[in-house]
Protein backbone atom coordinates (compact mmCIF):
# COMPACT_ATOMS: atom_id res chain seq x y z
CA UNK A 1 0.00 0.00 0.00
CA UNK A 2 2.92 2.33 0.67
CA UNK A 3 3.98 1.83 -2.92
CA UNK A 4 0.47 2.37 -4.21
CA UNK A 5 0.10 5.63 -2.35
CA UNK A 6 3.42 6.97 -3.55
CA UNK A 7 2.44 6.08 -7.14
CA UNK A 8 -0.97 7.61 -6.59
CA UNK A 9 0.90 10.84 -5.83
CA UNK A 10 3.07 10.42 -8.92
CA UNK A 11 -0.02 10.12 -11.13
CA UNK A 12 -1.50 13.30 -9.61
CA UNK A 13 1.75 15.30 -9.38
CA UNK A 14 1.76 18.85 -10.71
CA UNK A 15 4.44 21.49 -11.13
CA UNK A 16 7.75 21.80 -12.88
CA UNK A 17 9.60 18.63 -13.80
CA UNK A 18 12.94 17.81 -12.22
CA UNK A 19 14.58 17.88 -15.62
CA UNK A 20 17.96 16.52 -14.57
CA UNK A 21 16.38 13.55 -12.78
CA UNK A 22 13.99 12.86 -15.67
CA UNK A 23 16.81 13.02 -18.22
CA UNK A 24 18.92 10.66 -16.11
CA UNK A 25 15.92 8.29 -16.10
CA UNK A 26 15.62 8.48 -19.87
CA UNK A 27 19.30 7.69 -20.35
CA UNK A 28 19.08 4.82 -17.92
CA UNK A 29 16.01 3.40 -19.70
CA UNK A 30 17.93 3.47 -23.01
CA UNK A 31 20.97 1.76 -21.49
CA UNK A 32 18.79 -0.87 -19.81
CA UNK A 33 17.19 -1.57 -23.20
CA UNK A 34 20.64 -2.05 -24.74
CA UNK A 35 20.37 1.13 -26.81
CA UNK A 36 22.78 4.01 -27.23
CA UNK A 37 21.70 7.06 -25.23
CA UNK A 38 19.80 9.66 -27.30
CA UNK A 39 21.80 12.61 -28.70
CA UNK A 40 19.15 15.17 -27.80
CA UNK A 41 16.48 15.56 -25.13
CA UNK A 42 13.95 18.26 -25.98
CA UNK A 43 11.47 19.61 -23.43
CA UNK A 44 7.90 20.68 -24.23
CA UNK A 45 5.42 22.51 -22.01
CA UNK A 46 2.55 20.03 -22.47
CA UNK A 47 1.61 16.84 -24.30
CA UNK A 48 0.09 19.04 -27.01
CA UNK A 49 3.33 20.99 -27.43
CA UNK A 50 5.25 17.70 -27.36
CA UNK A 51 3.20 16.30 -30.25
CA UNK A 52 3.94 19.46 -32.25
CA UNK A 53 7.62 19.10 -31.43
CA UNK A 54 7.63 15.43 -32.46
CA UNK A 55 5.96 16.31 -35.77
CA UNK A 56 8.81 18.71 -36.54
CA UNK A 57 11.63 16.35 -35.54
CA UNK A 58 14.16 15.60 -38.23
CA UNK A 59 16.83 12.95 -38.11
CA UNK A 60 15.44 11.46 -34.88
CA UNK A 61 15.32 7.90 -36.20
CA UNK A 62 12.51 5.43 -35.54
CA UNK A 63 10.46 5.16 -32.37
CA UNK A 64 12.10 2.92 -29.79
CA UNK A 65 9.07 2.79 -27.48
CA UNK A 66 8.86 -0.97 -27.97
CA UNK A 67 12.44 -1.56 -26.75
CA UNK A 68 12.45 1.09 -24.03
CA UNK A 69 9.05 0.48 -22.49
CA UNK A 70 6.85 -2.26 -23.88
CA UNK A 71 9.30 -5.14 -24.04
CA UNK A 72 10.82 -4.61 -20.56
CA UNK A 73 7.32 -4.40 -19.09
CA UNK A 74 6.14 -7.53 -20.84
CA UNK A 75 9.23 -9.44 -19.76
CA UNK A 76 9.01 -8.23 -16.16
CA UNK A 77 5.35 -9.18 -16.08
CA UNK A 78 6.17 -12.63 -17.42
CA UNK A 79 8.99 -13.06 -14.90
CA UNK A 80 6.75 -12.09 -11.98
CA UNK A 81 3.85 -14.16 -13.26
CA UNK A 82 6.11 -17.22 -13.38
CA UNK A 83 7.46 -16.44 -9.92
CA UNK A 84 4.11 -15.69 -8.22
CA UNK A 85 1.72 -17.90 -10.19
CA UNK A 86 -1.64 -16.78 -11.57
CA UNK A 87 -3.27 -16.18 -8.16
CA UNK A 88 -0.20 -14.39 -6.78
CA UNK A 89 0.12 -12.14 -9.81
CA UNK A 90 -3.60 -11.39 -9.69
CA UNK A 91 -3.40 -10.51 -5.98
CA UNK A 92 -0.37 -8.30 -6.56
CA UNK A 93 -2.04 -6.49 -9.45
CA UNK A 94 -5.28 -5.94 -7.53
CA UNK A 95 -3.33 -4.58 -4.54
CA UNK A 96 -1.25 -2.24 -6.69
CA UNK A 97 -1.91 -1.33 -10.32
CA UNK A 98 -5.64 -2.03 -10.29
CA UNK A 99 -6.15 0.63 -7.63
CA UNK A 100 -4.81 3.33 -9.92
CA UNK A 101 -5.67 1.90 -13.29
CA UNK A 102 -9.13 3.27 -13.89
CA UNK A 103 -8.47 6.89 -12.92
CA UNK A 104 -5.09 7.22 -14.65
CA UNK A 105 -6.26 5.45 -17.82
CA UNK A 106 -9.30 7.73 -17.97
CA UNK A 107 -7.13 10.80 -17.43
CA UNK A 108 -4.66 9.77 -20.14
CA UNK A 109 -7.51 9.18 -22.57
CA UNK A 110 -8.95 12.61 -21.81
CA UNK A 111 -5.58 14.18 -22.49
CA UNK A 112 -5.29 12.32 -25.81
CA UNK A 113 -8.77 13.47 -26.79
CA UNK A 114 -7.90 17.04 -25.82
CA UNK A 115 -4.66 17.01 -27.82
CA UNK A 116 -6.45 15.63 -30.88
CA UNK A 117 -9.23 18.23 -30.54
CA UNK A 118 -6.67 21.05 -30.31
CA UNK A 119 -4.28 19.94 -33.04
CA UNK A 120 -6.42 18.20 -35.65
CA UNK A 121 -7.83 21.32 -37.28
CA UNK A 122 -9.17 19.30 -40.21
CA UNK A 123 -10.77 15.86 -39.61
CA UNK A 124 -8.20 14.26 -41.94
CA UNK A 125 -5.37 15.39 -39.61
CA UNK A 126 -6.76 13.38 -36.71
CA UNK A 127 -5.09 10.14 -37.73
CA UNK A 128 -1.64 11.77 -37.84
CA UNK A 129 -2.01 13.26 -34.36
CA UNK A 130 -3.23 9.93 -32.96
CA UNK A 131 -0.25 8.14 -34.51
CA UNK A 132 2.15 10.46 -32.71
CA UNK A 133 0.24 9.93 -29.45
CA UNK A 134 0.64 6.17 -29.90
CA UNK A 135 4.41 6.60 -29.65
CA UNK A 136 4.18 8.23 -26.20
CA UNK A 137 5.40 6.71 -22.97
CA UNK A 138 3.03 8.14 -20.39
CA UNK A 139 5.52 9.10 -17.67
CA UNK A 140 3.59 9.99 -14.52
CA UNK A 141 0.44 8.41 -16.01
CA UNK A 142 2.17 5.02 -16.23
CA UNK A 143 1.92 5.01 -12.43
CA UNK A 144 -0.51 2.08 -12.29
CA UNK A 145 1.84 -0.29 -14.12
CA UNK A 146 4.93 0.94 -12.36
CA UNK A 147 3.25 0.48 -8.95
CA UNK A 148 2.91 -3.25 -9.62
CA UNK A 149 6.61 -3.63 -10.42
CA UNK A 150 8.00 -1.26 -7.79
CA UNK A 151 10.62 -2.84 -5.54
CA UNK A 152 10.74 -6.06 -7.56
CA UNK A 153 13.78 -5.56 -9.74
CA UNK A 154 15.76 -2.73 -11.31
CA UNK A 155 14.94 -3.24 -14.94
CA UNK A 156 12.22 -0.56 -14.92
CA UNK A 157 14.14 1.91 -12.75
CA UNK A 158 14.79 4.31 -15.63
CA UNK A 159 11.11 4.38 -16.60
CA UNK A 160 10.15 4.91 -12.96
CA UNK A 161 12.63 7.79 -12.63
CA UNK A 162 11.11 9.58 -15.60
CA UNK A 163 7.59 8.93 -14.27
CA UNK A 164 8.43 10.39 -10.87
CA UNK A 165 9.84 13.54 -12.41
CA UNK A 166 8.04 14.36 -15.66
CA UNK A 167 5.04 13.87 -17.90
CA UNK A 168 4.65 12.07 -21.21
CA UNK A 169 7.71 11.35 -23.34
CA UNK A 170 8.56 10.16 -26.81
CA UNK A 171 11.63 7.98 -27.27
CA UNK A 172 13.27 7.85 -30.71
CA UNK A 173 16.64 6.43 -31.70
CA UNK A 174 18.49 9.73 -31.54
CA UNK A 175 16.08 12.13 -29.83
CA UNK A 176 13.64 12.21 -26.94
CA UNK A 177 10.82 14.71 -26.44
CA UNK A 178 9.58 15.08 -22.84
CA UNK A 179 6.53 17.02 -21.69
CA UNK A 180 6.24 18.90 -18.43
CA UNK A 181 3.62 17.87 -15.88
CA UNK A 182 0.42 19.93 -15.54
CA UNK A 183 0.42 23.04 -13.35
CA UNK A 184 -3.18 22.51 -12.33
CA UNK A 185 -5.10 19.32 -11.57
CA UNK A 186 -8.47 19.30 -9.83
CA UNK A 187 -10.27 16.02 -9.25
CA UNK A 188 -13.19 14.88 -7.15
CA UNK A 189 -12.95 12.19 -4.47
CA UNK A 190 -13.56 9.50 -7.07
CA UNK A 191 -10.52 10.73 -9.03
CA UNK A 192 -12.44 12.28 -11.93
CA UNK A 193 -11.51 15.65 -13.44
CA UNK A 194 -13.73 18.17 -11.71
CA UNK A 195 -13.61 21.93 -11.35
CA UNK A 196 -16.34 24.54 -11.46
CA UNK A 197 -14.19 27.65 -11.53
CA UNK A 198 -11.64 27.07 -14.25
CA UNK A 199 -9.74 24.29 -15.98
CA UNK A 200 -9.63 20.94 -14.19
CA UNK A 201 -6.28 20.23 -15.88
CA UNK A 202 -3.94 22.89 -17.24
CA UNK A 203 -0.37 22.92 -18.52
CA UNK A 204 2.06 25.83 -18.55
CA UNK A 205 1.43 26.65 -22.21
CA UNK A 206 -2.33 26.99 -21.80
CA UNK A 207 -3.31 23.51 -22.94
CA UNK A 208 -6.27 22.78 -20.65
CA UNK A 209 -9.24 20.50 -20.09
CA UNK A 210 -12.50 21.58 -18.47
CA UNK A 211 -14.71 19.07 -16.67
CA UNK A 212 -17.41 18.76 -14.10
CA UNK A 213 -17.36 15.48 -12.14
CA UNK A 214 -15.55 13.84 -15.00
CA UNK A 215 -17.81 15.14 -17.75
CA UNK A 216 -16.03 17.28 -20.37
CA UNK A 217 -17.60 20.73 -20.63
CA UNK A 218 -16.74 23.76 -22.80
CA UNK A 219 -14.77 26.51 -21.03
CA UNK A 220 -17.47 29.09 -21.71
CA UNK A 221 -20.07 26.84 -20.11
CA UNK A 222 -18.30 27.01 -16.75
CA UNK A 223 -18.34 30.79 -16.80
CA UNK A 224 -22.11 30.67 -17.10
CA UNK A 225 -22.64 28.34 -14.14
CA UNK A 226 -22.42 31.08 -11.53
CA UNK A 227 -25.36 32.96 -13.06
CA UNK A 228 -27.75 30.02 -13.53
CA UNK A 229 -31.48 30.30 -12.96
CA UNK A 230 -34.12 27.52 -12.95
CA UNK A 231 -35.48 28.99 -16.20
CA UNK A 232 -32.08 28.81 -17.86
CA UNK A 233 -31.67 25.19 -16.71
CA UNK A 234 -35.07 24.23 -18.08
CA UNK A 235 -34.27 25.97 -21.38
CA UNK A 236 -30.98 24.07 -21.92
CA UNK A 237 -31.54 21.62 -24.76
CA UNK A 238 -28.37 19.55 -24.30
CA UNK A 239 -29.37 16.93 -21.72
CA UNK A 240 -25.81 16.33 -20.49
CA UNK A 241 -25.11 20.01 -19.95
CA UNK A 242 -28.48 20.36 -18.22
CA UNK A 243 -27.48 17.61 -15.80
CA UNK A 244 -24.26 19.47 -15.01
CA UNK A 245 -26.25 22.67 -14.50
CA UNK A 246 -28.58 20.87 -12.10
CA UNK A 247 -25.69 19.43 -10.11
CA UNK A 248 -23.89 22.75 -9.95
CA UNK A 249 -27.02 24.71 -9.07
CA UNK A 250 -27.91 22.14 -6.42
CA UNK A 251 -30.81 19.74 -6.63
CA UNK A 252 -32.12 20.96 -3.29
CA UNK A 253 -32.15 24.58 -4.40
CA UNK A 254 -33.72 23.67 -7.70
CA UNK A 255 -36.36 21.58 -5.95
CA UNK A 256 -37.18 24.41 -3.56
CA UNK A 257 -37.39 27.02 -6.28
CA UNK A 258 -39.42 24.87 -8.62
CA UNK A 259 -41.84 23.98 -5.83
CA UNK A 260 -41.25 20.22 -6.15
CA UNK A 261 -43.03 17.90 -3.73
CA UNK A 262 -41.48 14.76 -2.28
CA UNK A 263 -42.74 11.57 -3.92
CA UNK A 264 -42.15 9.29 -0.95
CA UNK A 265 -40.74 9.42 2.54
CA UNK A 266 -39.66 6.63 4.91
CA UNK A 267 -37.05 5.87 7.58
CA UNK A 268 -34.19 5.85 5.07
CA UNK A 269 -34.88 9.25 3.51
CA UNK A 270 -37.01 11.18 1.04
CA UNK A 271 -37.57 10.44 -2.64
CA UNK A 272 -37.84 13.37 -5.07
CA UNK A 273 -38.70 13.53 -8.76
CA UNK A 274 -38.08 16.32 -11.26
CA UNK A 275 -39.73 15.96 -14.67
CA UNK A 276 -37.64 17.27 -17.55
CA UNK A 277 -38.81 17.88 -21.11
CA UNK A 278 -37.11 15.61 -23.61
CA UNK A 279 -35.14 13.68 -20.99
CA UNK A 280 -35.84 11.02 -18.40
CA UNK A 281 -36.99 12.25 -15.00
CA UNK A 282 -34.39 13.01 -12.37
CA UNK A 283 -35.19 10.84 -9.34
CA UNK A 284 -33.16 11.32 -6.19
CA UNK A 285 -33.04 10.11 -2.63
CA UNK A 286 -32.35 12.70 0.00
CA UNK A 287 -30.39 11.07 2.80
CA UNK A 288 -29.22 12.47 6.12
CA UNK A 289 -25.69 11.53 7.16
CA UNK A 290 -25.78 9.49 10.38
CA UNK A 291 -22.63 10.94 11.87
CA UNK A 292 -23.04 14.57 12.95
CA UNK A 293 -20.65 17.23 11.67
CA UNK A 294 -18.34 18.99 14.15
CA UNK A 295 -20.97 21.68 14.71
CA UNK A 296 -23.58 19.04 15.60
CA UNK A 297 -25.61 19.36 12.39
CA UNK A 298 -26.25 16.43 10.09
CA UNK A 299 -25.21 16.80 6.47
CA UNK A 300 -27.90 16.08 3.90
CA UNK A 301 -26.84 14.61 0.60
CA UNK A 302 -28.55 13.63 -2.61
CA UNK A 303 -28.05 10.55 -4.70
CA UNK A 304 -29.53 10.09 -8.12
CA UNK A 305 -31.27 6.71 -8.58
CA UNK A 306 -32.97 5.06 -11.58
CA UNK A 307 -36.18 6.78 -12.72
CA UNK A 308 -38.19 3.63 -12.01
CA UNK A 309 -37.52 3.92 -8.24
CA UNK A 310 -40.75 4.16 -6.21
CA UNK A 311 -39.70 4.48 -2.56
CA UNK A 312 -36.85 6.13 -0.68
CA UNK A 313 -35.78 2.78 0.74
CA UNK A 314 -35.73 1.19 -2.72
CA UNK A 315 -33.55 4.09 -3.82
CA UNK A 316 -31.03 3.80 -1.00
CA UNK A 317 -30.96 0.00 -1.41
CA UNK A 318 -30.30 0.42 -5.16
CA UNK A 319 -27.22 2.54 -4.44
CA UNK A 320 -25.75 -0.57 -2.79
CA UNK A 321 -27.00 -2.99 -5.43
CA UNK A 322 -29.80 -4.38 -3.25
CA UNK A 323 -33.58 -4.73 -3.36
CA UNK A 324 -35.42 -2.50 -0.90
CA UNK A 325 -36.56 -5.46 1.21
CA UNK A 326 -32.97 -6.64 1.68
CA UNK A 327 -31.65 -3.30 2.94
CA UNK A 328 -31.58 -3.23 6.75
CA UNK A 329 -28.41 -1.90 8.41
CA UNK A 330 -28.26 -2.63 12.15
CA UNK A 331 -25.82 0.21 12.61
CA UNK A 332 -24.88 3.16 10.42
CA UNK A 333 -22.52 6.05 10.91
Amino acid sequence: MQHVNSWRNVAAATGRADRAAAEAGVRRAYRTAGLAEPDRIIWAASPRAAVETVEKLTDAGRSVREEVRTRPWAEERRRMYDELGPAGWSALWSATGAQLWETTAALAERIRTGVVADLAVRPEDEGDVRLVLLDAVLGQHDAAWLAAFDGRGDRLTGLAEVARNAGWWWPYERAVVIAERPDVLHRDEAGRLDHGEGPALAYGDGFALYAWRGMPVPAAFLAELSTLTPERIRAEENAELRRVMLEYYGYDRYLTESGAEPVHRDETGILWRIALDGDEDVVMVEVVNSTPERDGTHRTYWLRVPPTTRTAKDGVAWTFGLEGAAYAPVRQT
Partner: protein
Protein backbone atom coordinates in the same frame (compact mmCIF):
# COMPACT_ATOMS: atom_id res chain seq x y z
CA UNK B 1 -25.57 -5.31 7.77
CA UNK B 2 -23.52 -2.24 8.68
CA UNK B 3 -23.08 1.04 6.90
CA UNK B 4 -20.34 3.61 7.21
CA UNK B 5 -20.97 6.48 4.81
CA UNK B 6 -20.69 5.18 1.26
CA UNK B 7 -19.64 1.67 2.27
CA UNK B 8 -22.06 -1.16 3.13
CA UNK B 9 -20.78 -4.23 4.99
CA UNK B 10 -23.00 -7.31 4.88
CA UNK B 11 -22.44 -10.38 7.02
CA UNK B 12 -21.99 -13.53 4.95
CA UNK B 13 -22.23 -17.19 5.99
CA UNK B 14 -18.89 -18.92 5.49
CA UNK B 15 -20.72 -21.54 3.39
CA UNK B 16 -21.72 -18.74 1.00
CA UNK B 17 -18.11 -17.65 0.38
CA UNK B 18 -17.00 -18.89 -3.05
CA UNK B 19 -14.41 -21.64 -2.50
CA UNK B 20 -11.51 -19.93 -4.29
CA UNK B 21 -11.71 -17.02 -1.85
CA UNK B 22 -11.58 -19.05 1.38
CA UNK B 23 -7.80 -19.33 1.14
CA UNK B 24 -7.08 -16.53 -1.34
CA UNK B 25 -4.27 -14.13 -0.47
CA UNK B 26 -5.61 -10.86 0.82
CA UNK B 27 -4.93 -7.25 -0.09
CA UNK B 28 -1.82 -5.62 1.29
CA UNK B 29 -2.32 -3.37 4.31
CA UNK B 30 -1.69 0.36 4.17
CA UNK B 31 1.21 2.14 5.87
CA UNK B 32 -0.72 2.18 9.13
CA UNK B 33 -1.35 -1.57 9.03
CA UNK B 34 -5.02 -1.24 8.06
CA UNK B 35 -7.16 -2.96 5.45
CA UNK B 36 -8.52 -0.18 3.25
CA UNK B 37 -12.10 -0.76 2.07
CA UNK B 38 -12.35 2.54 0.18
CA UNK B 39 -10.03 5.49 -0.22
CA UNK B 40 -10.90 9.07 -1.17
CA UNK B 41 -8.55 10.11 -4.00
CA UNK B 42 -8.20 13.70 -2.90
CA UNK B 43 -8.56 13.86 0.89
CA UNK B 44 -6.95 10.46 1.45
CA UNK B 45 -9.71 9.71 3.97
CA UNK B 46 -10.25 5.98 4.16
CA UNK B 47 -12.84 3.49 5.33
CA UNK B 48 -10.44 1.01 6.91
CA UNK B 49 -10.44 -2.03 9.20
CA UNK B 50 -8.05 -2.43 12.09
CA UNK B 51 -7.12 -5.79 13.54
CA UNK B 52 -6.37 -9.24 12.15
CA UNK B 53 -8.14 -10.33 9.00
CA UNK B 54 -8.07 -10.36 5.22
CA UNK B 55 -9.64 -8.27 2.51
CA UNK B 56 -10.11 -10.05 -0.80
CA UNK B 57 -10.94 -8.01 -3.85
CA UNK B 58 -13.11 -9.97 -6.24
CA UNK B 59 -13.02 -7.70 -9.29
CA UNK B 60 -12.44 -4.14 -10.36
CA UNK B 61 -10.98 -1.28 -8.40
CA UNK B 62 -14.16 -0.65 -6.41
CA UNK B 63 -15.00 -4.21 -5.47
CA UNK B 64 -17.13 -5.97 -4.57
CA UNK B 65 -14.83 -7.23 -1.86
CA UNK B 66 -14.88 -9.98 0.73
CA UNK B 67 -13.69 -9.31 4.26
CA UNK B 68 -12.74 -12.05 6.72
CA UNK B 69 -12.36 -11.09 10.37
CA UNK B 70 -11.50 -14.18 12.47
CA UNK B 71 -11.59 -12.13 15.67
CA UNK B 72 -13.91 -9.29 14.69
CA UNK B 73 -12.63 -5.78 13.99
CA UNK B 74 -13.33 -2.07 13.86
CA UNK B 75 -14.16 0.01 10.79
CA UNK B 76 -12.74 3.49 11.11
CA UNK B 77 -13.01 6.67 9.01
CA UNK B 78 -11.86 10.24 9.57
CA UNK B 79 -15.41 11.63 9.29
CA UNK B 80 -17.64 8.79 10.49
CA UNK B 81 -18.10 7.10 13.85
CA UNK B 82 -16.28 3.77 14.26
CA UNK B 83 -18.28 0.58 13.74
CA UNK B 84 -17.43 -2.63 15.62
CA UNK B 85 -17.84 -5.80 13.55
CA UNK B 86 -18.29 -9.32 14.96
CA UNK B 87 -16.08 -12.17 13.76
CA UNK B 88 -16.92 -13.75 10.43
CA UNK B 89 -17.12 -13.09 6.69
CA UNK B 90 -18.55 -9.96 5.11
CA UNK B 91 -19.29 -8.64 1.68
CA UNK B 92 -18.23 -5.02 1.25
CA UNK B 93 -20.12 -2.88 -1.29
CA UNK B 94 -19.30 0.66 -2.33
CA UNK B 95 -22.21 3.02 -2.88
CA UNK B 96 -23.05 3.95 -6.46
CA UNK B 97 -25.13 6.65 -8.06
CA UNK B 98 -27.32 6.52 -11.13
CA UNK B 99 -26.34 8.57 -14.14
CA UNK B 100 -28.30 8.27 -17.38
CA UNK B 101 -26.53 5.71 -19.52
CA UNK B 102 -24.04 4.87 -16.79
CA UNK B 103 -23.60 4.18 -13.11
CA UNK B 104 -20.94 5.95 -11.14
CA UNK B 105 -19.31 5.40 -7.78
CA UNK B 106 -20.05 7.72 -4.90
CA UNK B 107 -17.14 9.04 -2.87
CA UNK B 108 -17.75 10.77 0.44
Amino acid sequence: MYRQGDVLIMALEESAVPAPFLEAPGELRDGRGRLVLALGEVTGHAHAVQGPGRLIREAGPFGPMLLHLPEGGRVVHEEHATIALPQGWFRVVRQREYAPGAVRIVAD
